[in-house]
Amino acid sequence: ELKVEQNPLFLSMQEGKNYTIYCNYSTTSDRLYWYRQDPGKSLESLFVLLSNGAVKQEGRLMASLDTKARLSTLHITAAVHDLSATYFCAVVRYNFNKFYFGSGTKLNVKP
């Protein structure tokens, strides 16, 4: 069974600061996803990472993947209040179609 661990689970930060969320997974994976979830809402896809060394950036968020270390990071640059949400990573093995989600990181950016 593939296990996905995120840390930290809770993150409170000031606007303008930088921080990184970590996602570790237990066995080989072909794809890694990052999602955002606002309270009471569904999951919004942020990034799909497909290969070792993949890096994707959108606005203040940058995601990277190290398949050898089985680690993905979501880096937040100069955080703003609008980024407050819960962020999930999810891992899937090719042709298995089951997404294995981490527990989520609840981010609160204080103005």
Binding site: S45, F88, A90, Y94, N97, F99, F101
Partner: protein, 116 residues
Amino acid sequence: GAGVSQTPSNKVTEKGKYVELRCDPISGHTALYWYRQSLGQGPEFLIYFQGTGAADDSGLPNDRFFAVRPEGSVSTLKIQRTERGDSAVYLCASSFSGTGYWDEQYFGPGTRLTVT
């Protein structure tokens, strides 16, 4: 275009009752997935349909849970003899093929089930 829709958005039921949760996937998507998200947790896989057939139902917790997709489009998740531990948000997702390397799952807004 229309995304994945789920009804009802909220369902409150008494312990022991039967409930049905409905999912309308994105038109043209052959793959459909059900997940359960408990409070403070990430979504947990329940079942995956490829067309009309359940390709993987390994996540269904017990035989009280059953899902169908008779025409390969709309799916219904059925829960018999509900228990308080079934309270959660049930998410549905669909994807174009379910087998493509680039395939991405699109999630619906979820049904919040509360068993009293």
